[in-house]
Amino acid sequence: MSDMTASQQTGFAAGLAHARYVLAANPVTGFAFGLFVLIVIAAAFGPYIVPYDPLASDTAAALQPPSAVHWFGTDQLGRDVFSRVIVATRLDFLIAVTSVVLVFLMGGLAGVAAGFFGGWTDRIFSRLADTIMAFPLFVLAMGIVAALGNEVENIVLATAIVNFPLYVRIARAEANVRRDAGYVQAARLSGNSEARILLGHILPNIMPIMVVQMSLTMGYAILNAAGLSFIGLGVRPPTPEWGILVAEGAGFMVSGEWWISFFPGLALMVAVFCFNLLGDGLRDIVDPQRRT
């Protein structure tokens, strides 16, 4: 037992050292990590640190350009754009996180099972993934949200479903490679059940790769949710959400009130950018050979 801990610690320390090395060698990942911390802070404490109530209207101060009083200006109803952008972080972050966790639970597990067991399990899940792939994905997401109603849960679900095939494919390939690896054979010989091997040995081994994938799809999840909001299938007003904020400001763009959609759009872009860079960086740490 103590041996195990010791070896794990060395493993951990080595990992940390590797991470430090990667961060040093790759300043972009360090920058992305800094951004990520900022986003998490905004998501966690946003509502407590913003200067204005993000929902409070003030029609006397409507459509004001950015100034010292309103850093990002105000919108049509005089709401503070800065406060709305910051407060929206939590919802967008939550949508992204829950949808990737959900797709991991659905697609990741299905893919691992498909790769490990092969046969009918493989055929069913692979066919399912193929079928979803054959859809124009954004339209499928639209259809799901339109059919189930525009609630946050349905946006999360739709985003998870469109990412399903990707996760199945990756998890399947990884599990397939490992199904006959030495440690799996060893576990099998010592009398572990197949399910146990799957959950106890295969899954932990492919987790790092899945985590990288999750970080990469987080960005896509946010974009997807924002796109849905943009065509009117987003969350309920007046809840601030980046996609809706951009859509609300879109009509004001040509009359010169660029700030209403510019800043939320910027926040959206920065967040997605950060998740993507971070995913890349994580991949370098977890799996240096795979870097693309």
Binding site: S57, L77, A146, M253
Partner: protein
């Protein structure tokens, strides 16, 4: 045209024929003078108003490509803009007519022709009216509004004489003959293209114009454009000045504004009020705003649902709504306020007119307490996403105000496709909605919106015997010309509507149109679509 040919040869000689845009523009400027280009958000799904589910843009095609027996005259409003005149019927296909108590006889123009050259006869009129009252759906319904219900009512006396027999005395029969539905169709042409399954040829007229109106559709692509040419032999009025009309659908409001502002389009519709207000202020283009007759944005409360079954709750809501904020931040001043009257009793037998509610938080709280709801309650507030440009900010402001007296409203945006379905079900507790009646009479509005017959437009399910008596009384008085009784009844139902507030009027919106300065002759119509015939360019 010569210049264009020159350009063509010139460019053909060049190895790569890349030509700067301005040169093309001037080459085309000549045809541009006679071509009108205008923009709206969406286009027609059917060229025939008799079709199943024809949308508003489809009404516009109908209006311009078909003639009616009569049309409405025009008048100049106090602000100098032109509007149709509800009280004046003028000849269109009929040169003259005599209307008696129980029938009206029309003399048709002898020189009028359909687009294919066939002369227009009373037979065509009879066939067209039969069609309108038979096909069902909206056209039949609209005919009924003027007591036009049975084919037997329509008689072709001879080739150029046509008679309508009345079922009952109805003030709305003659006006109803000048709306869009009773258009005159080329019966022989349509019959040729009809099938057994479709005896009225609705499939044919859906994509073809088979009339004798001032314009005919020559090209169209659904959702993208409709192109009209003038019908050179049109006889039912002075020949329009515009030879060619191009109607483009541009979904983005921002683009529609940019296009009119930069002079690429002649007329632009369907912009948010803010854009119209700014275009007006900038003065580069003309913006004409006309209050939409008999049209009101309102907050409706479902009186069949607790707690809105309690009149005190409804009054409390009426005393907390942010009327002025809505006028300023949502409508940018481009609407007529429907609040701020001295009292809740009607000043004259006209509609719409403002009510006496204004934000008074103490009164609202007291009323809520009297209703036993001092701590407020939870409800939902719904709006039509299709009208979200107005519906959404209005809902957000109302939600905020309601919260100040403890009413927690969750906003529910309903996609346009579901909206009507939801209205038919009458389950929504609270809605922000718009309704306008084509025929601009108080009793017509109230008959649809407040009467116990519970039409779709009575979105509050409001039913009250005394209200029905007042509305029916006013309709009868109008038909009989009893001015005194009419005034009492109209004032009576308005007072009652204000006292019991099943719906709270918020404002009367304007129909706004942005036009280049070179465009004149624009006229407001009850159907709120564009009439190309009076427009002049240059």
């Amino acid at each position: 045209m010569k210049r264009r040919d020159f350009l063509k040869t010139a460019t053909a000689t060049a190895a790569v024929s890349l030509l700067p845009a301005p040169a093309i523009r001037t080459a085309w400027s000549q045809s541009r003078q006679e071509t009108l280009l205008f923009l709206t958000e969406s286009g027609p799904n059917n060229f025939d108003i008799h079709g199943v589910g024809t949308n508003r843009p489809g009404y516009e095609v109908s209006w311009n490509c078909y003639d009616r027996l009569m049309s409405y005259g025009s008048k100049t409003l106090p602000d100098g803009t032109l509007s149709y005149d509800r009280d004046k019927l003028v000849p269109e296909l009929a040169e003259e007519w005599t209307a008696g108590d129980m029938s009206a006889t029309f003399k048709l123009r002898k020189d009028a022709k359909f687009h294919d050259g066939t002369p227009i006869t009373a037979k065509d009129v009879k066939w067209s009216f039969d069609r309108a009252v038979t096909v069902g759906g909206f056209p039949t319904f609209q005919m009924k509004a003027g007591s036009l219900e049975k084919p037997e009512q329509f008689v072709a006396v001879d080739d150029h004489t046509f008679r309508v027999d009345f079922l009952r005395k109805d003030k709305l029969t003659m006006p109803d003959l000048a709306v869009i539905v009773p258009a005159v169709y080329n019966s022989e042409l349509i019959k040729k293209n009809a099938t057994e399954k479709d005896p009225w040829g609705l499939e044919y007229t859906k994509v073809n114009t088979a009339g004798g109106g001032a314009y005919k559709v020559t090209r169209s692509q659904a959702g993208t454009e409709v192109v009209y040419e003038r019908f050179e032999e049109w006889k039912s009025g002075p020949l329009p000045k515009i030879k060619r009309v191009i109607w483009r659908m541009v979904p983005s409001a921002g683009n529609r504004r940019a296009l009119i502002e930069r002079g690429d389009a002649d007329i632009s519709f369907d912009l948010p009020s803010k854009d119209f207000a700014e275009l007006k202020a900038a003065g580069k283009v003309n913006v004409t705003s006309t209050p939409i007759g008999n049209g009101i944005w309102y907050l409706g409360m479902n009186v069949k649902k607790a707690p809105f079954d309690n009149v005190k709750v409804r009054q409390a809501v009426a005393y907390i709504l942010p009327y002025q904020k809505i006028m300023d931040a949502v409508m940018f001043g481009l609407a007529k306020p429907m609040y701020g009257a001295a009292s809740n009793s009607a000043s004259a037998p006209v509609w719409p007119q403002p009510h006496g509610y204004k934000p008074e938080i103490e009164k609202a709280k007291a009323l809520l307490a009297e209703a036993g709801m001092a701590n407020g309650f939870e409800t939902t507030l719904s709006f039509d996403l299709g009208l979200g440009v107005i519906g959404e900010p209005v809902s957000v402001l109302i939600q905020e105000s309601l919260a100040s007296i403890g009413i927690k409203a969750t906003i529910n945006k309903i996609p346009g496709a579901n909206w009507r379905g939801e209205l038919v079900k009458k389950e929504l507790p609270m809605i922000v909605n718009f309704f306008s009646g084509w025929l601009d009479y108080p009793e017509y509005f109230f008959f649809w919106a407040y009467h116990g017959q519970n039409a779709v437009f009575n979105t509050m399910s409001y039913q009250d015997a005394a209200m029905d008596a007042l509305i029916d009384g006013a309709r009868k008085a109008a038909a009989e010309g009893d001015a005194a009784a009419y005034e009492t009844d109209v004032k009576g139902f308005i007072d009652k509507a204000f006292a019991e507030v099943p719906r709270v009027p918020l404002f009367q919106p304007y129909l706004n149109v942005a036009m280049q300065k070179t465009i004149t002759g624009y006229q407001y119509w009850f159907h709120r679509q564009l009439d190309y015939r009076t427009l002049v360019k240059g």
